[in-house]
């Protein structure tokens, strides 16, 4: 049976890893991307995600040399995102060693781009990420790293992106990012019931139980960042907690150990 996935998510800023709160507060340095990837590989995590947070605001894309180095060091799947708006950029990122590309703002500006990318590279390598805020009027989607509001509802946008041939849908609550206050279980539950494609739940992980609740609510995968970076929970601890509480995760003890 297919295992539920545990995915450390890293934000890249000036070629270093950083982690903040709610996308803009309290930035903290979180290490070097390549050596961090190596450490998490040795923990036997299931995948990695790197998102360059400067890329869209600065009109660039994630630095390819980081991807090449990561791909030389770890033999596991990884997704990269940040600023991707062109098919040629996806081609380049995949050639540098990435397995999947994550689209957020580009999908909002041009939903047809998701379809074209899926047709060209296969839907399995196109992850659409949805950044949203939980407002009194519902969950509203944001572009440009939370800098630009839209009228889209996160739920509707997820369904629309599935129809546009996204291979996986990732949902990121800006309000929960870095707060370690728990995943958005209600949206995870409603979307995973409805989506055919795998749902990746992102933002809010703070405890072992949060992880279990998000996966039990129907997410195919969870991303974790602050909890790994700033607490004493390691991927090994998360996995053993999940496995001993009946969640179907990989029992791998580590890689190249």
């Amino acid at each position: 049976m297919l295992k539920k996935r545990i995915i450390p998510k890293f934000l890249v800023h000036n070629r270093r890893l950083v982690k903040g709160v709610r996308f803009h507060e309290n930035w903290r340095e979180a290490g070097n991307p390549v050596s961090t990837a190596r450490v998490y590989d040795s923990y036997g995590v299931d995948e990695l995600i790197f998102v360059d947070i400067d890329a869209t605001p600065n009109g660039g894309i994630i630095d390819g040399s980081i991807i090449e180095r990561v791909s030389e060091e770890v033999f596991m799947p990884f997704t990269v995102g940040g600023g991707v708006t062109k098919l040629e950029q996806i081609e380049k990122l995949l050639a540098q060693g990435a397995d999947k590309v994550c689209l957020t703002t580009a999908a909002l500006r041009d939903p047809g781009f998701v379809t074209r990318a899926a047709q060209r590279f296969g839907d399995q390598c196109i992850v659409v990420n949805i950044d949203y805020r939980e407002t009194p009027e519902g969950r509203k989607v944001y572009a440009a790293c939370g800098g630009e509001a839209t009228d889209q509802s996160a739920y509707d946008w997820a369904l629309r992106m599935e129809d546009a041939y996204a291979g996986e849908i990732m949902i990121t609550s800006i309000d929960r990012d870095g707060t370690m206050s728990g995943y958005d279980l209600d949206l995870i539950h409603r979307l995973s019931d409805r989506l055919q494609k795998p749902l990746i739940a992102s933002s809010g992980a703070g405890s072992l139980d949060h992880c279990k609740m998000a996966l039990d609510a129907g997410a195919s995968a969870i991303t974790i960042s602050s909890m790994f970076i700033f607490s004493d929970h390691s991927p090994i601890k998360v996995r053993s907690y999940l496995a001993s509480n009946g969640t179907n995760v990989r029992s791998q003890t580590g890689s190249r150990s």
């Binding site: 049976m1 297919l2 295992k3 299931d46 090449e68 995949l94 397995d99 399995q124 195919s220 029992s251």
Partner: protein, 208 residues
């Protein structure tokens, strides 16, 4: 030397990184003369079947691939879409003819359980059917490998089936027939288990 076929549809760098890590001498190439000179050939692949087979034909690679697979019977390893190209045909996006080395069709995964999602993305367990040499040394209860796919290969001859995985029913995970070996999963992305499988292939004596 191991030739890694570069036709614009594969994660050739990840693959060469993994084979290089194992000490193999690799060359990423689309030159038919290099295919002929190679000891072994790896056909990677990510993307849509129709576009991929068209690229192989447009680049004029098909005769050299056929020659090495069927006449000189060189060890060939297909990965993911590269595996699917070994089949006679695929139903993906209207239907396409493959390389036809294996009597098989490629069809969409049709789970018997509506909860099971397609594409299959993630780590799943192998059930080994044949060609156990490919899986030598994998830990019995921790033999998960990484899959990313919506289609899989249905072999006419069950003897060709090396391993399956369960994703709402049996899904073809690996095949092996003579000099032809292929995996639907990505060994180059499956950490220790994947490296072991690649190493088993590199070390296997196909003439024995």
């Amino acid at each position: 030397m191991i030739a890694i076929v570069d036709y614009g549809f594969g994660n050739v760098r990840s693959l060469s990184n993994a084979l290089d890590f194992l000490g193999a001498d690799t060359e990423i190439t689309r030159d038919p003369e290099v295919f002929d000179a190679a000891d072994r050939i790896v056909l990677p692949g990510v993307g849509a079947f129709g576009d991929a087979i068209k690229a192989i034909r447009d680049l004029g690679l098909e005769p050299a691939l056929n020659r090495n697979a069927l006449q000189t019977r060189k060890p060939m390893f297909g990965i993911c879409l590269g595996m699917q190209l070994f089949a006679k045909s695929s139903t993906e996006h209207g239907g396409h003819q493959g390389l036809g080395w294996i009597d098989a069709v490629v069809d969409r995964i049709r789970p018997n359980d509506p909860e099971v999602k397609v594409p299959q993305v993630g780590w799943n367990t192998l059930e080994i059917r044949n060609s156990g040499w490919l899986f030598d040394g994998l830990p019995a209860k921790q033999n998960d490998v990484y899959f990313v796919h919506s289609y899989h290969m249905l072999c006419a001859d069950p003897a060709d089936l090396a391993a399956v995985t369960n994703h709402g029913g049996p899904v073809t995970a690996a095949i092996s027939r003579g000099n032809l070996t292929a995996t639907q999963f990505h060994p180059e992305k499956s950490q220790d288990n994947g490296l072991r499988i690649l190493q088993n292939w590199l070390e296997h004596d196909f003439d024995a």
